[in-house]
Amino acid sequence: MLKGRRPMMLSLILSVITLFAGCSPEREADEHRFKIGVAFPVSGNLAKIGQACTNGVEIAAELVNEQGKGFEIELIKVDVPDAVTAVHQVNRLILKEDVKVVIGTYASPISMAASGITERNRVVLWEVAATDPRLTRRGFRYVFRPNPDASMYGPATVRFLSEVVVPKLGLKNEDLKMALIHEDGEYGEAVAASTKEAAKKAGIPIVEEIRYNAKSTNDLSSAILRLKKAQADVINMVQYDTDAQLFWKQAKQLGLNAKVFIGNGAGQSSDNFGHVFGKAANGVLDTSSAISINPEALTPEMRETEKKFVQRYKKKFGKEPDLIARLAFSSSYILFNDVIPKAGGDDPDRIRQAALSLDKPVGSTIVGWGVKFDERGQNTRATMSVMQWQNGKLVVVYPQNFKKREPIMIPMHDSSKN
């Protein structure tokens, strides 16, 4: 019996030691040095996006630190590929690293899990990209989201269709048939739901809705055949990178035509879309936060900031910042440049006060948003725009004051001539 117990004890001691071996010395607190947690998924399926977000936040911190505002931002980065890890790592940031503000998280379940922890610990969660509407509807005091939530996409698309497309085609809303094709994850579902609702209000009929699973779809030909059958005038897509590319390839192969193809961020906003398709991407529209608006619509300060941002990003990461990196930059820049100085530090209650007191006009961020948080922490001036692929680049074509170019190819020509 004795011999049996000893190894067990040894194993127990061994495992407990391993458990607590995750020990790094705590950094000293400093009056003017603020530790800000950065939590994005940089491994797993969302790695590319998480990395882009982290990059954007890094540049924002750099630029603000250089302005010599009397304080320094120190970023503590953690990888949060899923909800469980998010709980653990955010706990770590709060309990071990003593951060009072966490920037993150991009994906819905991660943001929901993270916010549960931050709110209970009276820590600010500064969300830069997740679109789940529930995040700002739980009555939390310390969650702030500068970017639009999913419910804003639908109205933006429909406004564009009503104001720009319908007149150009010489039709009425009731004649414009719309079909939706979206991935069945939380992003696709939420955006599609808001689009359907907005379309209904505007009297635009929805003739088809296709849902598919982005991770396991190797072939969209059935979906495309159904869309062909529906003969919609507008095809609205909510897709991630790989499925957006598969869809567009197969759409061309199978001869899917529509007068307007409009995406919603993600797949159609990705730089890959342009790289892969080149000319074949021309004409595709995309509702999202703007990638780069007409400089006239930006405040002079922002024009400078945008230039510096792009320059610095290219230098540090060797490539142009894509849309998601710009979003992350814009959101975190608001925090570093406006909120923290106003709050005089990183105390969550003062951050809340400072954030709520911000009132900046549209055009105060490089992606075009203004800043005005409502009581729930949602930025009500997160203006959406519509962009279009032209000559291999994504340019803003709506709204009026943001646009850099006029929209082209409405209607798109029949691709059966290829």
Partner: protein
């Protein structure tokens, strides 16, 4: 007309599944390994094709000349270095070992090549062939034709060469094969290498159809298991026919029921086969495995 287009599209994607599953079924037939690394070998092959295109401008079809031997070598290495020891322990050990290697490969790819999505875009990739109103994707047609050719060649190899017959012998009865003078260790290594090379071919061809990223293999893994079980573990004919059936069923159910549910249809089919006839359409009744 729509029905015909659906069936043909289904056959095309089915050809892709068949090509990917050939290697899987060979490996299982010979070594009884449920190979979870299979999808990731596809990924590695796709990356190879991509880099040859991006760095040297080599077309992915031409690149096959390099990809095939390279993936075969990688397969042999994995078998020789890890799997041969795992098999000796138990079935469970080999399954878990392949899962572990799969995780390692995916994350190594993430670290080395980053999570960026890579695509090969040559003139062929958006091209389609049109006939009587039916449109078929050109790169998929090519993949399908190659799948057919490869199957025929493989069949010839297994039935008319010494090595091929030795492989079949080892798969039918390992111990008897040893008694007949077959070096099973070597045979297993060769079989694993061939199985991997087969999926390497698939990867090379599909690099111009699908976007490449570290976890792209997972998209095809479960489907190929379904194909292999449906067709019968170890049966090449089964892999081809199983692939075509799954392709058509998937495409048809996506059209009539909904794309979100199409996976459900073939999974239920999978479960049904496992319960009713685990040997699949053409598989052997393997003592101790499914008898």
């Amino acid at each position: 007309m729509i029905l015909l287009q659906l069936i043909l599209s289904g056959i095309l994607i089915g050809g892709v599944y068949a090509l990917i599953s050939l290697g899987l079924t060979l490996i299982f037939g010979v070594m009884r390994i449920v190979n979870f690394v299979h999808g990731d070998m596809l990924m590695v092959a796709m990356y190879m094709a991509y880099w040859m295109f991006a760095l040297f401008g080599i077309d992915n079809y031409v690149g096959l000349l390099v990809i095939v031997p390279a993936t075969a070598a990688l397969g042999a290495l994995i078998y020789w270095g890890v799997l041969q020891f795992a098999i000796r322990r138990s079935h469970e050990a080999s399954i878990l070992a392949t899962i572990g290697i799969s995780i390692v490969l995916q994350n190594a790819a993430l670290i080395i090549w980053s999570a960026d999505y890579r695509s090969i875009h040559n003139e062929l990739s958006t091209l389609s062939v049109e006939y009587l109103g039916i449109r078929l994707s050109a790169p998929l047609l090519i993949a399908f034709s190659v799948a057919l050719v490869v199957t025929i060649l493989l069949f010839a190899f297994l039935n008319h060469t010494y090595l091929g017959k030795a492989i079949r012998a080892a798969s039918m009865d390992r111990y008897a094969a040893v008694l007949m003078g077959v070096n099973t260790r070597k045979i297993f290594t060769v079989s694993f290498a061939i199985g991997t090379a087969l999926v390497g071919i698939a990867g090379g061809l599909l690099a111009s159809v699908y976007t490449v990223y570290p976890t792209v293999g997972t998209q095809f893994l479960l489907v190929s298991f379904v194909v292999v079980v449906l067709g019968g573990l170890g049966s090449l004919r089964g892999a081809v026919i199983g692939g075509l059936i799954v392709g058509v069923v998937e495409t048809a159910s996506a059209y009539f029921i909904g794309s979100s549910m199409k996976e459900l249809v073939y999974l239920l089919l999978f479960i049904l086969i496992l319960i009713i006839k685990p040997a699949g359409l053409f598989g052997q009744q393997l003592p101790g495995v499914n008898r």
